[in-house]
C-alpha cells in the first residue's frame, strides 16, 4: 500500500513538473499492477491530457469513473479531454456530472463554465462562472475563466475587470495577460494588444501561443492594409472614366496610394515595442506575407496599367476587367495570408498547424491557427486533482 502511494506521489510530482511521458510510463506500470486504483487512472488520464492524447485520456477517466462512481475528478478529466476532441455535448454532460457530485467544489463549476463556453452556450457558462466566483473569490483561475465568458458574451469591460482581478491575485498569470491582449484587439487597439501579448510571452516563454498571437496581429494588420489599399485603388480606377484625365494623374494617384499605404504600415510598426518590431520584421519578410503583398500590389498595378494604356473609347470595356483583377488580387493575397503561420525556425520541419507540445506551465495550450487569436483552452486547475 505504502509503495503504491509513493509511486502515485512520484507520478503526481512528475505531472506537476510537466513530465507527461515519464509519468505515463510510470502510471502504465501502476495501473497494470493496481487496476482497481481510481486515483492511478485519474493521474493516467491527466498524463494523457498533458501529452495531447485525448482519446486515451477519456478512456482512462472513464475507467476511474467506473471504479469510483462518486468521485468528481474523473468527470472533470473526461470533460476536458472530450472538449479537446471537439465532442462538446459530451464534455458538457461530463462537467455537469462532476458538478452534481461535488456542488461545493469550485473547480467543478469552472469545468462546467469552460465546457459550456466551448459548446457555444455562454449563458450556462456565465451562471457557472458566477457560482465559481462565489465559492472561490480569491482564485485567479476563476476570474480568468469569468473573463473569458464575459468576452464571449461581448462584455468587454466586464472581461477586462475579471482579467485584471486575476492578474492582481497572480501577477504571473500569463493567460490573463493574453486575454487582456484579446480584449484590446476587440477594441481595435493593435499596439496595446501586442504589449499584452509580449508581457505574456515574457512571463511564460515556453508557451508558444503568445508569440504566435503577436504574429497573427501583425498578419492581420497587413491584411487590413491590403484591404484599404485595394478599396482606394478601385475608387481611383474610376477617375479616368469620370474625369477624362490622362495617364499621368492616374500614375501619380497609384504611386501616392502605394506610398501612403506603406508609410502608414511603417508608422504602425515603428510604434510597436522593440521586441515586437523584431518579430514584425521577421513576419513581414516571411514568404507568405511578401508573396501576399506582391500579389496585391501587382494586381492593382496591372489594373492601373490596363486602364491607363487603353484608348479612352475602350475604357468602358476595360474598366470592369481592371476591377475584377483588383478584387481577385485581393482575394488571393488574403488567402495567402491565411496560410499556416511560418516560417518555422530552421531545423524545425514540423508544420505549425501540428499540435503544439504540452505546455510546461500549469495549463493546456489551445490549438492555434493563422487567423484566430488564440486564448488558453483551459486553466490547469481544471484538471488538477482535488
Amino acid at each position: 500500500m505504502t509503495e503504491i502511494k509513493e509511486e502515485l506521489a512520484r507520478a503526481a510530482t512528475m505531472l506537476d513538473l510537466g513530465r507527461y511521458d515519464e509519468a505515463s510510463t510510470l502510471l502504465a506500470r501502476l495501473v497494470s499492477a493496481e487496476p482497481g486504483s481510481g486515483r492511478a487512472w485519474c493521474l493516467f488520464a491527466r498524463a494523457h491530457l498533458g501529452a495531447d492524447r485525448f482519446a486515451d485520456a477519456v478512456e482512462a477517466a472513464n475507467r476511474a469513473a467506473a471504479i469510483e462512481p462518486s468521485e468528481e475528478w474523473p468527470h472533470r478529466l473526461a470533460s476536458n479531454a472530450l472538449m479537446h476532441l471537439g465532442n462538446h455535448g459530451e464534455a458538457l454532460r461530463a462537467a455537469a456530472e462532476s458538478r452534481r457530485l461535488a456542488p461545493g467544489y469550485w473547480q467543478t463549476h469552472v469545468c462546467v463554465a469552460q465546457a459550456a463556453l466551448a459548446a457555444g452556450q455562454p449563458a450556462i457558462a456565465a451562471t457557472a462562472a458566477t457560482e465559481a466566483r462565489k465559492l472561490a473569490p480569491n482564485e485567479p483561475d476563476v476570474h480568468f475563466l469569468s473573463g473569458k465568458v464575459a468576452l464571449a458574451r461581448g462584455d468587454l469591460d466586464g472581461a477586462r475587470g475579471h482579467q485584471e482581478r486575476a492578474l492582481a491575485l497572480d501577477p504571473t498569470h500569463s493567460g490573463a495577460m493574453n486575454e487582456l491582449g484579446r480584449i484590446r484587439l476587440r477594441r481595435h487597439d493593435t499596439i496595446g494588444a501586442i504589449k499584452h501579448f509580449i508581457s505574456a510571452a515574457r512571463t511564460t516563454p515556453g508557451e508558444h501561443i503568445y508569440s504566435r498571437n503577436i504574429d497573427v496581429v501583425i498578419v492581420r494588420s497587413v491584411s487590413r492594409m491590403i484591404y484599404v489599399f485595394v478599396l482606394i485603388a478601385m475608387i481611383l480606377l474610376w477617375i479616368p472614366a469620370v474625369a477624362h484625365t490622362g495617364r499621368l494623374p492616374l500614375a501619380i494617384g497609384f504611386g501616392a496610394l502605394s506610398a501612403a499605404t506603406l508609410a502608414s504600415f511603417a508608422i504602425m510598426v515603428s510604434r510597436l515595442p522593440k521586441e515586437a518590431r523584431q518579430l514584425a520584421r521577421r513576419t513581414v519578410l516571411s514568404r507568405r506575407v511578401t508573396s501576399a503583398l506582391a500579389i496585391a500590389f501587382g494586381g492593382v498595378a496591372l489594373a492601373f496599367a490596363a486602364v491607363a494604356f487603353v484608348p479612352s473609347d475602350a475604357l468602358p470595356q476595360t474598366l470592369p476587367v481592371a476591377i475584377i483583377i483588383t478584387i481577385v488580387a485581393r482575394v488571393i493575397a488574403t488567402a495567402r495570408l491565411r496560410a499556416p503561420l511560418g516560417p518555422n525556425p530552421p531545423g524545425n520541419r514540423t508544420t505549425p498547424t501540428q499540435p503544439l507540445p504540452p505546455s510546461r506551465r500549469r495549463s493546456l495550450p489551445a490549438k492555434t491557427n493563422a487567423v484566430v487569436i488564440a486564448g488558453k483552452a483551459s486553466s490547469g486547475s481544471i484538471i488538477s486533482g482535488p
Binding site: M1, R10, T13, Y20, P35, F44, G206, N344, P345, R349
Partner: protein
C-alpha cells in the same frame, strides 16, 4: 497460439537488433497471443526504456492479461463497444480470467498491493517474477547522450547509496564544440586548476556552473568530461533521483547526497535536469517540492562556504524555468550554453554510433553537412534508421549487406531534427525575456542562425 519457430525467429531478430522498437512490439504482441505474458512484459519494458512515451507499449502493458487463445489486446481494442464516451467496463472486480496475473483477488483489500510475502507466493504460483519486472521497468528514463550508457547513477534508492565514480573522460573526448570548451575553460576549469593563481587574484571557488541548451546535445557528457579534467569523482543525480527526493524524505536525501560528495572530495556533483528540482517556487504547488528546493539552497550555500573540493554542475533544457534563487551568486551563478553539435562534433557522433556496425564507404563530412541542426540524439536515431533499412533490405534479398552511404542519407531524409520546439521557446526568451543580458550568448547564436 503462435508457432514457436516464428517466435524464435523474432527473438533472434530482436537479439540482433535490440533497439528496433517496432520489431520488439511485434514480438511482444506475438508473445501475448501465445500466452507468454512474462516475456512480453519484459520486451515492453525494453521498448519503454527506449521510447518512454510509446503509446502502444503502454496500452499493451495496461491491458488486462488474456487467457491463452483469447484475442490479443490490440484486437480487442478494435471492437466497437470501446466507445470513447461511454465508460469502460469497470475493472474493480473483474472476472478472475480478466485480471492480470498477480493482481489481488476481489476478496483481498480493494486498494493497495498484497503484502510482500503474498506477492512472493503469487510469483511462485504463476511463475511470474513481479519484482524482476518492476526492476526492469524502474529506470525507464532515456539517456540524454552517448556515453551515458555506462554511467552509474547516484541512486537515491532505499539504501540511499551514492556512487562516486571516476569518469575517465576528458574534454579531449568531446568531439568538436571548441567554442564550448573554450568558455568552459575560462569560466570554470582554469580557476579550479590553478589554486595559486586563484589565490593571487582573490578568485573565490564559490558557485557552480549551469549547463543549458537543447536536449540531446551532450550536456551530461560534457559534465562527465569536466569531472575527468578536474581529476574529481563524479556523482550524477538524475531526474528520477530528484523525483525520489520529492516523494521521500527530501531534506534528508539531499543532505546525504552532499555529505557523500564531501566525503569523496574532490568530487563533482552533477544535478541533471535541475529545472525539475529548481523550478520557480511560485510554480510549485506541492509543499514537499518547495521544501526540497529550500533544502537544496541550504546545501549549496554550505558547499560554497565549506570549500572542501565539491564542485557543482547542473544541466537543464529550460534555464528560464529555474528558480532565480538558484542562480544567485554563490550558487549556480555561471551559465554555459551547450549548443547542437557543430560539424566535427556531428562527425564524431556518427563515428561513435557506427563504430560497431557493419558499414562501408561512409562519407562522414557529407553526413555532417546534411545534419546541420540535428542533435546528438537525432544523429543516433539516423544511424538506427539506416541500420534498420539495411537489415530489411538484407531480409528481402536473402543475403546480408553492409550499411552504406545511401542508407544513411535516406535515413537523414526520414529523421526530422527534434530541436524545433526548443528553439521556438528559446526565440521567445531571446526576444522577450532576456533581462539583464542573461541569455546574450543564446541571442547571438539565434542571430547567427537567423532564427530571430
Amino acid at each position: 497460439m503462435e508457432p514457436e519457430p516464428l517466435l524464435d525467429s523474432l527473438r533472434n531478430a530482436v537479439t540482433a537488433m535490440p533497439d528496433d522498437v517496432p520489431l520488439r512490439l511485434h514480438l511482444a504482441t506475438m508473445l501475448m497471443r501465445a500466452g507468454q505474458r512474462d516475456e512480453a512484459v519484459r520486451h515492453l519494458g525494453a521498448v519503454l526504456q527506449r521510447e518512454p512515451g510509446n503509446a502502444e507499449a503502454m496500452r499493451m502493458l495496461t491491458a488486462p492479461a488474456e487467457a491463452p487463445g483469447r484475442p490479443a489486446p490490440a484486437e480487442a481494442e478494435a471492437s466497437p463497444e470501446r466507445a470513447l464516451s461511454s465508460p469502460s467496463p469497470a475493472p474493480a472486480t473483474p472476472p478472475a480470467a480478466d485480471r492480470p496475473a498477480g493482481t489481488p483477488d476481489a476478496k483481498t483489500p480493494e486498494v493497495g498491493p498484497p503484502q510482500p510475502d503474498e506477492v512472493d507466493a503469487d510469483d511462485q504460483a504463476d511463475g511470474y517474477d513481479w519484482s524482476q519486472a518492476e526492476n526492469e521497468l524502474r529506470d525507464v528514463l532515456p539517456t540524454m547522450f552517448v556515453g551515458e550508457a555506462g554511467s552509474v547513477s547516484a541512486g537515491l534508492d532505499e539504501a540511499r547509496a551514492y556512487d562516486a565514480e571516476n569518469t575517465g573522460l576528458t574534454l579531449a573526448d568531446v568531439a568538436g564544440l571548441d567554442e564550448v570548451k573554450k568558455r568552459l575553460e575560462a569560466a570554470f576549469l582554469a580557476p579550479m586548476r590553478n589554486p595559486d593563481l586563484r589565490k593571487l587574484y582573490g578568485k573565490s571557488l564559490r558557485g557552480g556552473l549551469l549547463l543549458y541548451g537543447p536536449p540531446g546535445c551532450g550536456k551530461t557528457f560534457i559534465a562527465r568530461a569536466v569531472a575527468g579534467e578536474l581529476g574529481a569523482r563524479f556523482i550524477t543525480v538524475s531526474f528520477a533521483d530528484l523525483i525520489d527526493m520529492f516523494v521521500g524524505r527530501s531534506e534528508r536525501n539531499i543532505h546525504e547526497l552532499f555529505e557523500v560528495a564531501r566525503r569523496n572530495a574532490p568530487c563533482v556533483v552533477f544535478l541533471d535536469e535541475v529545472d525539475a528540482i529548481g523550478q520557480k517556487r511560485s510554480q510549485l504547488r506541492n509543499t514537499p517540492m518547495r521544501s526540497a528546493v529550500n533544502q537544496l539552497l541550504l546545501e549549496l550555500d554550505d558547499v560554497a562556504s565549506d570549500n572542501t573540493g565539491v564542485f557543482l554542475l547542473a544541466a537543464t533544457n529550460h534555464p528560464w524555468d529555474v528558480d532565480s534563487a538558484l542562480r544567485r551568486p554563490g550558487r549556480f551563478d555561471r551559465t554555459l550554453l551547450v549548443l547542437p553539435p557543430d560539424g566535427p562534433a556531428r562527425e564524431g557522433v556518427f563515428r561513435y554510433h557506427l563504430r560497431e556496425r557493419p558499414v562501408a564507404g561512409i562519407d562522414l563530412g557529407k553526413l555532417s553537412r546534411l545534419t546541420d541542426g540535428y542533435s546528438g540524439a537525432d544523429i543516433a536515431h539516423v544511424c538506427e534508421t539506416a541500420a534498420e533499412r539495411a537489415l530489411l533490405d538484407s531480409v528481402k534479398r536473402g543475403e546480408p549487406r553492409l550499411i552504406g552511404q545511401t542508407d544513411l542519407e535516406a535515413a537523414v531524409g526520414e529523421v526530422r531534427p527534434s530541436l524545433g520546439t526548443w528553439f521556438e521557446t528559446a526565440r521567445n526568451v531571446a526576444l522577450f525575456a532576456n533581462e539583464g543580458g542573461a541569455y546574450d550568448d543564446l541571442v547571438a547564436y539565434l542571430r547567427k542562425r537567423r532564427l530571430i
